[in-house]
């Protein structure tokens, strides 16, 4: 157990270093964006003096490494600075939207992950039969369509034609949990269709891979039922690749859902990021970029640790 703690500790350290490097990259990337914030914000008619004053007020005249140090220091202390566009604190702006993004991602994950695992196991169980091919074809078709296409199909079916769910996922902070869930059914469903195929196919492949092992043959020879063999003998040994795919998809659900947010006008973090880039609202861009990276790295870290814990050999390894 001590070794595992050591290993986890090391992974966390490596993650911190990665986040630091990413913060550098984000800062440099934003630095390299063409154009000048002061000029953009103040418009064409601004006199050079006002521009100069504005730059001074925002500390844009200082050399980059000092600004980077100050930015990182503030960020670590939870102060993300103020938006250039409207002067509101970035933390508040991002906080609510990040909450919305996580809410949508988690609700989707709660449906998609069990669904994918169960479908994967069933597909492995009925390997190479009509049923297996049906599951594969269906999920693959959904993955092949662009997300907005699935979204519009769902809207035209479930909200325009039958009028069951709202086509716009508008939520505000005062809404209760029930009405919130009701509001996000369609985007959540769209995302489920997008991510399930990937996870399901990985589960199926990992299980089938394990089914060739000697211990599966042993279980069969012991007279254990096929379904139990798949769920209790094969599945635990195929967890590691599955966990990694789940992590990648979770990351996608948080970081990559801009299009779905736009289609359903959902106030998530992705939409904020896109808006802010258009407006050259650099503090917001930097902060959301860094938040995304932290989420992404955290998910991968969690996947690493979980797949380590799922394997008794690694759990007690001597590394």
């Amino acid at each position: 157990m001590k070794n595992v703690l050591m290993l986890i500790f090391k992974r966390c350290g490596a993650s911190l270093i990665t986040i630091f490097i990413i913060s550098l990259i984000i800062f440099i990337g934003v630095e390299m964006l063409p154009g000048d914030v002061a000029e953009t914000v103040l418009g064409q008619g601004a006199t050079p003096e006002t521009v100069e004053q504005f730059r001074k007020a925002l500390k844009l005249d200082l050399p980059p490494h000092i600004r980077y140090g100050a930015w990182l220091n503030d960020f670590v202390h939870g102060d993300f600075g103020n938006s250039l566009a409207n002067g509101r604190p970035v933390a508040g702006l991002i906080g609510w939207r990040l909450g919305n993004t996580l809410f949508l991602a988690l609700s989707t994950a709660m449906i998609a992950i069990p669904l994918a695992l169960i479908l994967g196991m069933i597909a492995a169980f009925y390997r190479n039969t009509f049923f297996d091919k049906l599951i594969s074809t269906t999920t693959l078709s959904f993955i092949s369509f662009p997300e907005f296409f699935i979204a519009y199909i769902l809207i035209s079916l479930l909200s325009v034609k039958f009028n069951i769910f709202p086509s716009l996922a508008v939520i505000d902070p005062e809404m209760g949990l029930g009405s919130r869930i009701y509001a996000i059914v369609l985007p959540s469903l769209t995302l489920t269709f997008v991510v399930t195929a990937h996870m399901m196919r990985q589960t199926r492949a990992a299980i089938i891979n394990v089914l060739a092992s000697a211990y599966i043959e042993m279980a069969e020879i012991k007279g254990i039922r096929r379904l139990r063999i798949i769920a209790l003998h094969a599945f635990p040994n195929s967890l590691s690749p599955v966990i990694n795919v789940i992590a990648v998809n979770m990351a996608y659900l948080i970081v990559g859902v801009v299009i779905v947010e736009v289609v359903f006008v959902y106030p998530g973090l992705g939409q904020l990021l896109v808006d802010s880039v258009a407006k050259r609202d650099l503090p917001v861009v930097q902060a959301s970029g860094l938040v995304f990276s932290v989420v992404y790295i955290f998910l991968n870290l969690a996947a690493d640790i979980l797949s380590m814990l799922s394997n008794p050999r690694l759990r007690q390894s001597q590394i």
Partner: protein, 538 residues
């Protein structure tokens, strides 16, 4: 009818080259209560396939084509999957060759024991686990109350194999199929498992099929022995009768493989090729895996380095080749001191010391032809290319007794295990070495094939006067080819000397145990040994 198992006219087929082809032809056998039937043959003889067929089971890509399998009055051929499932594990169970691979790494050993009886509805978890402890104790597993609660990777190979024997007994089946249960074990552990098999069948009045390629092993436990070759019956007879009067030539060949070869003496004035003194090495940096290793190898002679798994014998090979640099001591090769690290050594020193490995499958590049494999050292060490290389490769193929026209263009994957090992030998020969280190070169091969390889190595030594350092855990091999024997235990050399000195008493205590553990072709050998042991314990 008092036959527990009756197999009649069994045919099995495998699917390859796009069609079903027969692999087992017309096998009939029967098994009574309290009886052990040995199935013996080389790989490809169909032993395991028949063993599994006795449970109505065929591996992926195989099928039972025709015949009848009657288990205690119930016909298994053509029975439904559900009917077969009910029988498997509860009436007839199986002990696989590799316990390490056959235990599920994700579950504790005792949970895997109790799974079958609980699943078949014979007892609940608590009862099953109580019985497991009892059986673990009977099979002399250390710490029987606790050992089951470990994960498979926390047990040694010998312990796992016994835990698997215990698992096979969990539902009190009538028949247990033992498929090479001791092949992967050291000789000393093998005895524990053999004793367990005997106890189960004799005292508990069960029946067993015992599958192996080692006639001496099966002679200890089986009442009757069935010799198989290429899926066909060669002969079947009572054990004593079969050993005394084998009718078929093939059986006689199997019986003969353990004969001793002539001794070569070692003279003090013979050239010392390799001389290592006081060598130690470590993997971790603080704990030495081997220590105080002193060893000399002389020209034209074979030194056998013997020990059980984990004794450090392969580590010694790594130190000599420089893969694992020694932390102290000296390694002298052909009269001069070798640098400890591989990368500090000269090309010519590398050339003069070659290695042959345990697994010819992994030692050869699957994408290369025989020509490329043998041609590589020719080009690397001597710069020989083109026509000259082609001629030399052909010469080498003749040396290893393979027809050049037939083999030179083939991919290494198209060869059998024995042929692959011969190619590995040719590759080593191509460098014209003074010393070849052979690391368990025959342990992955069938008995007769291994015999051929040993013969070849012997002939090559007579021709070229190379020295061999032969690393092995198989004392039969040692007896067959060594001039000098070095015995290792827990990273140290416990005894070394000329073969006849080591093999004749008095021995070091450990040497004695090791030698006494090698099965002899005498059906009473195990009983005598167990009796002797029991009397010394009391």
């Amino acid at each position: 009818m008092n036959n527990l198992l009756e197999i009649k006219n069994l045919y099995l087929e495998a699917f390859y080259e796009e069609q079903w082809q027969p692999i087992v032809h017309n096998i009939s056998l029967d098994l009574k209560r309290g009886e052990v039937l040995g199935l013996i043959g080389e790989s490809g003889a169909g032993k395991s396939t028949i063993g599994l067929a006795a449970m109505g089971y065929a591996r992926q890509g195989c099928r039972i084509a025709s015949g009848s399998i009657n288990l205690d009055g119930k016909e298994l051929f053509g029975a439904s999957q559900e009917d077969l499932r009910v029988v498997r594990g509860s009436k007839i169970s199986y002990v696989a060759q590799s316990a390490a691979a056959s235990f599920n790494p994700a579950h504790r050993v005792i949970k895997q024991y109790s799974e079958a009886p609980v699943h078949h509805g014979l007892m609940n978890h608590a009862e099953a686990e109580k019985e497991a402890v009892e059986i673990y104790r009977r099979l002399f597993l250390p710490n029987p109350e606790k050992i089951g609660y470990r994960y498979p990777h926390e047990l040694s190979g010998g312990q796992l194999q016994r835990a698997m024997v215990a698992m096979a007994m969990s539902c009190h089946p009538e028949i247990i199929v033992f498929d090479e249960p001791t092949t992967a074990l050291d000789v000393t552990t093998q005895i524990e498992v053999l004793a367990a098999v005997k106890e189960i069948t004799e005292k508990m009045n069960k029946a067993a099929l015992y599958i192996t390629h080692d006639l001496a092993v099966v002679a200890q436990v089986a009442h009757r022995i069935m010799v198989l070759r290429n899926g066909r019956l060669v002969e079947i007879n009572e054990t004593r009768e079969l050993i005394k009067n084998p009718k078929e030539k093939y059986t006689r060949e199997l019986l003969n493989v353990r004969s001793l070869r002539e001794n070569k003496t070692i003279h003090e004035k013979m050239d010392v090729i390799l001389d290592i003194k006081d060598v130690a090495a470590t993997y971790t940096g603080y704990d030495n895996v081997v220590e105080d290793i002193d060893l000399t190898v002389r020209k034209g002679r074979t030194v056998a380095l013997v020990g059980e798994s984990g004794s450090g014998k392969s580590t010694v090979a790594k130190i000599i080749t420089g893969l694992l640099p020694a932390i102290n001591g000296s390694i002298k090769f052909l009269g001069k001191e070798l640098p400890r690290k591989l990368k500090d050594r000269k090309k010519d020193d590398l050339r003069k010391m070659q290695m042959i490995y345990q697994m010819p499958d992994t030692a050869l590049n699957p994408r290369q032809t025989v020509r490329q494999v043998i041609g590589r050292p020719l080009e690397f060490y001597f710069g020989i290319r083109g026509k000259k290389a082609e001629d030399r490769i052909r010469e080498l193929l003749v040396d290893i007794e393979l027809d050049p026209d037939h083999y030179i263009g083939r991919l290494t994957t198209e060869l059998s295990g024995g042929e692959k090992q011969r190619i590995c030998i040719a590759r080593a020969l191509a460098a014209e070495p003074e010393l070849i280190i052979c690391d368990e070169v025959t342990s992955a091969l069938d008995q007769l094939v291994a015999e051929g390889i040993l013969d070849l190595l012997q002939d090559l030594q007579n021709k070229t006067d190379m020295a061999y350092l032969f690393i092995t855990h198989d004392l039969a091999t040692v007896k067959a080819i060594a001039d000098k024997i070095v015995i290792m235990l827990q990273g140290k050399i416990v005894e070394q000397g000329e073969k006849k000195e080591i093999l004749s008493p008095p021995h070091h205590e450990y040497t004695d145990k090791l030698l006494a553990s090698v099965p002899e072709m005498d059906p009473d050998w195990l009983d005598n040994l167990l009796e002797k042991r029991a009397s010394t314990f009391i």
